[in-house]
């Protein structure tokens, strides 16, 4: 696929998102809120897909990076709100949140990516929990009471704009020459290493990139819900994102996006069955693993042939 074409789609996507956001005041606030949730879920799932899907490293700590980005950008917003117009500082706050999350990702990734499989899963889960406990004990960001009064800046435009950038950036990265390394690591780490791929470096790159976009998603989430509490970023949140990636099919961007949409909308559809909602969710995970382990949306799309 030529990138010029992809770029055109990206620009078109962002233009569409901005256009749609002009009409948001007319939308029903409930549907608007859910639509923004969908956009944030797409960013989270796509970024985790880079780590868990394309690179084949199993991370269970994505909610931790989301928390870092969310808290940091919300904190920045609360410092400068009022003195600077939102259009200037909001993207910067988001980027700063993403960068800090990436920094933490580097800190976590370098040591823990030496491990693999379920060990890595548990270590990332542990790091995610440590981030939560630290947030719980930091008074500057509200500690257990949570951070409140975050200005509402997240719109449909920002969310889907960033979603488009995330999808584009990750797709471009995976399809680049360097990015073939991710897939090589996924398929066979030892073979990749013997072919001259710096596996540790590749894994850390995937981890840091994923963490960056999770941080952005966290920032969007913070300015959408206007309230953050540490308990919202526990490991069950990470599991939610992992399920999106698995449901969509590891490494299949389109499938993962579809799964993110489906899993965000499903609880809304199931509101009338709220007693059984979570039981159904758990059953879905099990049945999916038993019946369609390659992902719900893996019909006839062949896994791309790797070099």
């Amino acid at each position: 696929m030529a990138f010029s074409g992809a770029k055109r789609w990206l620009l078109l996507g962002i233009a569409l998102a901005i256009l749609v956001s002009y009409f948001t005041p007319q939308f029903n606030r409930y549907y608007l809120g859910v639509a923004i949730d969908v956009g944030i879920a797409i960013i989270l799932a796509t970024s985790l897909n880079l780590i868990n899907g394309h690179t084949g490293q199993f991370s269970l700590g994505h909610a931790g990076f989301m928390a870092v980005g969310g808290y940091f950008s919300a904190w920045i917003s609360l410092q400068v709100a009022g003195s600077v117009p939102a259009i200037w500082y909001f993207p910067m706050a988001l980027t700063a949140g993403g960068l800090l999350a990436a920094g933490v990702g580097l800190l976590v990734g370098v040591p823990s990516l030496r491990l693999r499989g379920d060990y890595l899963a548990i270590v990332t889960l542990g790091f995610g929990e440590i981030i939560r406990v630290v947030a719980q004990n930091t008074d500057a960001i509200g500690a257990a009471s949570g951070l409140k009064g975050i200005p509402k800046h997240t719109t449909l435009g920002w969310t889907f704009g960033f979603a488009a950038i995330t999808i584009y950036a990750i797709t471009a990265l995976v399809n680049s020459t360097y990015g073939r390394g991710f897939i090589a690591v996924h398929d066979d780490e030892i073979a990749a290493e013997s072919n001259g791929v710096d596996t540790t470096r590749t894994k850390v790159t995937a981890f840091v990139t994923g963490a960056f976009f999770a941080g952005i998603a966290g920032g969007l989430y913070a300015h959408h819900k206007q309230f953050l509490s540490p308990t919202g970023f526990d490991w069950l949140k990470s599991i939610d994102i992992v399920v999106m990636v698995i449901l969509g099919g590891m490494g299949r961007t389109a499938g993962v996006i579809a799964a993110a949409i489906l899993l965000t909308l499903m609880p809304e559809f199931l509101r009338d069955f709220s007693d059984y909602r979570m039981i159904l969710y758990a059953l879905l995970i099990i049945l999916l693993m038993l019946l369609r382990p390659a992902g719900l949306f893996a019909f006839n799309i062949k896994r791309r042939k790797h070099s």
Binding site: L16, G33, V34, A35, A144, K148, N175, F227, S229, T253
Partner: protein, 382 residues
């Protein structure tokens, strides 16, 4: 890679939303008054959410049995927020923007009330929280109310209680690090107790849901305080008191309204003897409203004894209905003014008024646990 992915996804999500809108199109019907409620019915704090929901449900059923309000029956629309951050916003948005409720009841936990409050304020729909005691909740705006007292009032009352009744000079504080309720109550207690000239001994934390507290208790024991202040919920409190007894500690332990539940006695048994807590009312001191509520609740929910959350859930719905009657309308702005004007309301949790900060001003009672029963000790007026 498919470049149209993003467009496809946008289209898909849009289609999903439209479908969502269609599936949820219930007939508007002006013959009921719709009241929204959000509560943690599943997930980690399901215990508290279920209690407050049952109280609210009982109130609505009683009101409807008595012919409804303003000649119309009330319709309670309950949304479960799964004890999950992010969910209350969706639940309340749905109740307001899709179902068109006239008021919102909820939540027990301050952190989830704080997520819903800006939305209610933005939509100008009154929200009454049954049990969120964090002072900042009602500061979100003039449409946000609560029928419980705040941490500030309760913490100060507890501090005075420790100084005067328990005659404690040095008090150890054991808080739940996960809970804003516990942290908030501890903060105001410590301020007032220090101002009273008391000394705060060791300050330690546990995680709500832990089952082993001996590490903390042993440290407290070696510090030898006169009493332990334990703001927390009954499920943890009962276990802490059991383990304190196992360690041979016989100093009084005291806490706030989170203690009130029959489970405290059934789980804690004799380990609870001679400990104290403050709460909204005591069933043995017996206002007629309370007695009536307890009997009705037991009858409705298979003999289950109501806890503090249930009482407050009941009162939140009753205050709303009372305001509707006084306003003679369910228009949100009129309803808001009527709720704000609530004075000397006799609820199941005692008689209270709402002040200018939209917080309930009500007396607080101290309960002592004696011979396996909650026994009235004293009353503190605001």
């Amino acid at each position: 890679m498919k470049p149209g992915t993003f467009i496809c996804s946008s289209a898909a999500s849009l289609a999903g939303l439209i479908a969502l809108g269609l599936s949820g199109c219930k007939s508007g019907g002006g013959d009921t008054i719709k009241v929204g409620e959000f509560a943690s019915l599943t997930g980690k704090e399901a215990t508290f959410g279920t209690s407050s929901h049952e109280g609210t449900l009982l109130a609505i059923e009683e009101l409807n049995a008595a012919g409804g309000v303003l000649g119309k029956p009330l319709e309670l629309l309950t949304e479960d927020d799964q004890t999950k951050a992010g969910e209350p916003a969706n639940a309340v948005n749905k109740l307001i923007s899709k179902d068109g409720v006239v008021a919102i009841l909820g939540e027990v936990a301050s952190s989830r009330s704080l997520e819903a409050a800006p939305i209610c304020q933005l939509n100008k729909i009154p929200m009454i929280s049954p049990a969120s005691t964090n002072p900042t909740v009602t500061q979100e705006g003039d449409y946000i109310f609560r029928v419980c007292f705040t941490d500030t009032f309760q913490g100060a009352a507890l501090a005075n209680f420790a100084s005067t009744v328990l005659k404690a000079k040095k008090v150890a504080v054991l808080t739940d690090v996960k809970s804003d309720y516990s942290k908030g109550l501890a903060k105001s207690f410590k301020q007032k107790f220090s101002a009273n000239g008391g000394q705060i001994g060791s300050e330690l934390d546990f995680n709500g849901g832990d089952k082993d507290f001996k590490g903390q208790l042993t440290a407290i024991k070696s510090d030898a305080p006169d009493a332990i202040f334990l703001p927390g919920y009954y499920n943890d409190v009962a276990l802490i008191c059991i383990q304190a007894k196992q360690l041979g500690m016989n100093i009084p332990i005291f806490g706030g309204d989170g203690w009130e539940s029959e489970s405290l006695l059934t789980i804690g048994k004799d380990a609870m003897e001679n400990h104290y807590f403050s709460t909204h009312c005591s069933s043995d001191q017996g206002t007629p409203e309370m007695t009536k509520f307890v009997a009705a609740y037991k009858k409705r929910f298979n003999g289950k004894t109501p806890d503090a959350m249930a009482v407050l859930g009941y009162d939140s719905a009753m205050v709303l209905a009372d305001a509707m009657k006084r306003a003679g309308s369910t228009a949100p702005a009129k309803l808001r003014d009527a709720i704000a004007a609530t004075q000397d309301y006799s609820g199941a949790s005692g008689t209270f008024s709402l002040n200018a900060d939209r917080d309930a001003v009500k007396a607080l009672v101290f309960i002592q646990i004696k011979d396996g029963k909650f026994t009235y000790n004293s009353t503190v007026n605001p």
